[in-house]
């Protein structure tokens, strides 16, 4: 297998221009959808086997099916597009918005039509300024051609789209935190139930989908769900845009059929590990998922194969790590991220991530006692499943996996009273972000953790 481009087909054309997009069949799927019953659109997506491309991998058709039917809802329904891409290693939604903004708009309109939502909110990551400008320009083009607004394409159905900029908070990629943020509150997760399908934004039924998921809608309807389902492998239908990064020759976004072996992405497409180094580990789905060792590089990039290997496809972010990296430093850097991004609402996450960072620091500095390695695992265990949202789990799962799969390396930090890499690890000295709000007084929070090596 190699690249299999649906979304990224016609890469030679400037599809940010609505004329170009329409010239390759753009907005025709929306017209097709208008010729179908609303339920039939959702049914087709269900039949396609399309699973959410954000991270959780929930079947998109089923999710849309949870929205109460018109006439059986207590308030108007909304569609919210989760464009708050911030899972470390992930940069595919960004490229999708930059290259095919109209596919995002068209897919959003199709999903909105399917659930009969008259308003769409695109919650776009604050740091993505260029993406904001591209999406804004595309929306203006679509409005000018009567594709957004009242009576779209003479269907008698109308829909408005609001582009809403975030302001720098990883937690807002979590759906209920996103809804809180969209309502003008601090972005802290809600407890579920009620689920957003019943009580989402403004207490109304709300469908929340990832950018890539919605950008795939037009292709599903164009091909027909059954045909789309033939792409990929069982339980993992279709193509997916994988973000490849780290110690690999050709980093970038690559659209592949699900089920492609990880090895093929890293070596055949990504050009392998540069500098004559050896592969040490791969994070297959963003920093929140358990790690794979070099021996597991033949695992297939599909939901089931990853689950069997004890990890997840997550956001499709494949981070390649070569043999220069110290896995304690990796753990520390990852834990620092979750400490920084924990919203502080649930105690296990707020306190646990801090504990994790402290123990990992001691390990790296060589001052940890034997019992603290187990204490680290104990802290992970006490976070898992005990928080309102997945952020705590997302911190605990990878760290626990690093210890499990590289236990010997962790043990050496204790036995040798410090980092066996000396100062030579590729991650040596990496700073965690300072607290942006108190940078001037508290520059220390950031922590040059490895300067002691």
């Amino acid at each position: 297998m190699a690249l299999r481009e649906l979304l990224f087909e016609h890469g030679d054309r400037d599809l940010t221009q609505i004329g170009e997009y329409r010239a390759v069949g753009g907005y025709e799927s929306l017209r097709t959808a208008f010729g179908m019953e609303r339920d039939a659109v959702i049914e087709d997506v269900l039949n396609s086997g399309l699973k959410g491309r954000g991270g959780a991998g929930f079947p998109a058709g089923r999710k849309a099916g949870f929205i109460p039917k018109p006439g059986r809802r207590h308030a108007p329904a909304y569609l919210t597009v989760n464009a708050d891409e911030s899972e470390p290693g992930t940069f595919k939604d960004r490229e999708i918005m930059l290259r095919i903004p109209h596919a995002v708009i068209e897919g959003s309109l199709m999903a909105a039509y399917g659930i009969d939502a008259g308003q769409v909110f695109i919650y776009l990551r604050g740091e993505y300024l260029k993406e904001f400008e591209v999406m804004k320009a595309a929306l203006e083009e679509a409005r000018a051609e009567g594709l957004v607004g009242d009576d779209i394409l003479g269907s008698g159905w109308g829909c408005t789209i609001v582009l809403h900029r975030g302001a720098g908070a990883y937690i807002c990629g979590e759906e209920t935190a996103l809804l809180e943020s969209l309502e003008g509150n601090r972005g802290q997760p809600r407890s579920k139930p009620p689920f957003p399908a019943i009580s989402g934004v403004y207490g109304a039924p709300t469908l929340i989908n990832n950018v890539e998921t919605l950008a795939t809608y037009p292709f599903v309807i164009r091909m027909g769900g059954a045909e789309y389902a033939k792409l990929g492998v069982e339980n993992s239908a279709g193509t997916r845009v994988f973000s490849l990064s780290g110690n690999v020759a050709n980093g970038g976004n690559y659209e592949l059929e699900l089920g492609t072996p990880l090895r093929e992405l890293i070596y055949d497409i990504g050009g392998g590990i540069p500098g004559g180094r050896q592969l040490k580990a791969v994070i297959p789905g963003g920093s929140s998922v358990p790690v794979l060792t070099a021996e597991e590089v033949d695992t297939r990039l599909d939901f089931d194969a990853m689950a069997e290997a004890g990890t997840m496809l997550g956001s499709g972010a494949v981070i390649v790590i070569d043999d220069r990296a110290c896995m304690v430093q990796l753990g520390l850097r990852v834990a620092q991220f979750y400490l920084h991004e924990s919203c502080g609402k649930c105690t296990p996450c707020r306190e646990g991530t801090r504990w994790m960072v402290q123990i990992l620091k001691k390990l790296e500095e060589g001052t940890a006692e034997q019992g603290e390695l187990d204490l680290l695992l104990n802290v992970c265990d006490r976070i898992l499943g005990n928080c309102l949202c997945p952020l705590g789990d997302a911190a605990a799962m990878p760290i626990a996996s690093y210890v499990a799969k590289f236990r010997e390396e962790y043990q050496r930090h204790i036995d040798e009273g410090g980092c066996p890499f000396g100062g030579e690890s590729s991650l040596a000295g990496v700073l965690a972000p300072v607290d942006q709000h108190h940078a001037h007084q508290r520059a220390q929070i950031e922590v040059p953790v490895h300067e002691l090596a």
Binding site: P88, L129, I319, I321
Partner: protein
């Protein structure tokens, strides 16, 4: 500031934004972005303006502004430089890039230069992982930045345009 020539007063601009949402409070984030654009940061005066425009209390607006990394409750430099130091960039030398900026600007990450020209920060994943190290200058991304590129970037900004592009 909001009465500057050619600019719609913040109060009115926020009303127009608020109309897009079923509930006005949703406009607090775009309103804060706009206020920050105009003031350069969010001084108490800006927080009050946003609060007035949306019938919220200043304390509430402050609580929103303090939650997100991109709202500045203290002055920042004219050029905001954010270096991604998350895993993917870290693996390809982000730390060297940070140190090169520190050396070139004479400040540490988290600080603003005395002349008010530059703020330097290390930042969590900016989303350009395949093309690290990613550096955002006033939120315009530069990719595949190495330590060797840093003097050129700083020199360009010292002599360059206000938006850092």
């Amino acid at each position: 500031m909001s009465a500057e020539a050619g600019l719609v007063p913040l109060f009115e601009a926020v009303q127009a934004i608020a109309e897009q949402y079923p509930v006005r409070r949703s406009a607090v984030m775009p309103a804060l972005h706009l206020a920050q654009e105009r003031h350069g940061w969010l001084p108490p005066e800006a927080i009050r303006e946003v609060a007035d425009a949306l019938d919220l209390t200043p304390a509430y607006v402050q609580s929103i502004a303090s939650f997100y990394d991109m709202y500045h409750l203290e002055p920042v430099g004219r050029h905001e430089i954010a270096v991604c130091t998350n895993i993917s960039c870290a693996l390809v030398g982000a730390q060297d890039v940070v140190e090169a900026f520190e050396g070139e600007l004479g400040i540490s990450a988290g600080e603003t230069s005395e002349d008010g020209e530059f703020s330097l920060s290390t930042f969590e994943c900016l989303g350009g992982c395949g093309w690290g190290t990613v550096v955002a200058v006033n939120w315009r991304y530069r990719e595949r930045v190495s330590a060797a590129d840093v003097p050129g970037i700083v020199g360009e900004l010292r002599g360059g345009t206000a938006d850092g592009t």
